[in-house]
C-alpha cells in the first residue's frame, strides 16, 4: 500500500490526463475542419457573386473567411501550446 500503490495511481492519472488532452485536441481539429468547410462555402458564394458581376458580397465573404482563418490559427495555437507544455 506504500509507494507501489501511489505509482499505480500516478500512472492512471497520467493516462487519464493524456486521454482528456487528446479529446480536446480532436475536438479542436474537428472545429478547424468545420471552419475550413465554412471558408469553402464562402469562397463559392464569392465566386458566384464575382462571375455574376454583382460584387455585393465579395468583401463580406473575404472578411468572413479572414475571421475563420484567424479562429483556426487561434485554435491551432492552443493545441501547440498545450502540446509543448
Amino acid at each position: 500500500m506504500g509507494s507501489g500503490h501511489s505509482e499505480v495511481i500516478n500512472t492512471r492519472r497520467v493516462r487519464a490526463e493524456r486521454a482528456q488532452g487528446m479529446t480536446v485536441v480532436y475536438a479542436i481539429m474537428v472545429a478547424v475542419i468545420l471552419l475550413i468547410l465554412l471558408q469553402f462555402l464562402l469562397l463559392m458564394v464569392a465566386l458566384e457573386d464575382f462571375l455574376s458581376g454583382s460584387r455585393a458580397l465579395l468583401w463580406g465573404a473575404a472578411a468572413g473567411s479572414g475571421a475563420c482563418f484567424a479562429a483556426a490559427c487561434w485554435l491551432i495555437r492552443y493545441i501547440t501550446v498545450r502540446r509543448s507544455t
Binding site: M29, I36, Q39, G53, S54, R55, S65, C68, A72
Partner: protein, 164 residues
C-alpha cells in the same frame, strides 16, 4: 536476402514510417488550406474592386462594322469598350440593330442569338433574354444584359456607350 541492394543497408528508410502523417503535420496542413482559402477570397474581392474601378472609366465610341456585313437575323461578336469585353451585335430586322454584353449575368457564360425566337440564350444554365431589350425571360440570370448604345453613321455602325 540476396536480392536486397547494398545501398539499402546505407539508407534503411521504411516507406511506412516515411509516409506516416503526424497530428502536428496534419494540423499544419489544415492551417495552410485555411490560409489559401482566405487568400483566394481576398483575391476575388481585389479583382472585383479592380473591375469596378475599370467600369467607371468613360468609354470612347468605337466603330464595330458595316451595316452590309451582317445579314438580317445574323449576329456578330465584337469587343467593347475594351479588348476582353465581348459583346453581341444582332440585326433583328433590316433596319434594327441591337447590341448587348455577351456575358450572361448569371455566371458569365457567353450568350448566343436564336433568330427563330428572337432571343438571346445562355447554354450553360438555360438562361433566356429578350433580344429586343435584353430583359430576362427565363432561367437563373438575376439581371438584364448590359445594353450597348449604337449609332449609325451612313453604312457604319458605332458603339457609343454601355448601359448596365
Amino acid at each position: 536476402m540476396a536480392d536486397v541492394p547494398a545501398w539499402k543497408d546505407d539508407f534503411p528508410i521504411s516507406w511506412a514510417d516515411d509516409h506516416y502523417v503526424t497530428r502536428r503535420e496534419f494540423t499544419k496542413s489544415l492551417v495552410l488550406v485555411s490560409c489559401a482559402t482566405f487568400c483566394a477570397n481576398g483575391a476575388l474581392a481585389g479583382m472585383g474592386a479592380l473591375e469596378a474601378a475599370k467600369s467607371g472609366v468613360v468609354t470612347e465610341p468605337k466603330k464595330i462594322g458595316l451595316v452590309t456585313d451582317l445579314p438580317v437575323g445574323g449576329s456578330r461578336v465584337f469587343e467593347y469598350p475594351s479588348a476582353g469585353d465581348p459583346c453581341l451585335l444582332v440585326r433583328i430586322d433590316a433596319d434594327r440593330f441591337v447590341a448587348f454584353g455577351q456575358k450572361c449575368t448569371h455566371l458569365g457564360c457567353p450568350v448566343v442569338y436564336r433568330k427563330e425566337k428572337k432571343q438571346l440564350h445562355c447554354p450553360c444554365h438555360e438562361g433566356t433574354f429578350n433580344a429586343e431589350d435584353g430583359k430576362v425571360i427565363a432561367g437563373p440570370p438575376p439581371r438584364p444584359l448590359p445594353r450597348i448604345d449604337l449609332e449609325r453613321k451612313g453604312d457604319e455602325l458605332w458603339a457609343v456607350a454601355i448601359r448596365k
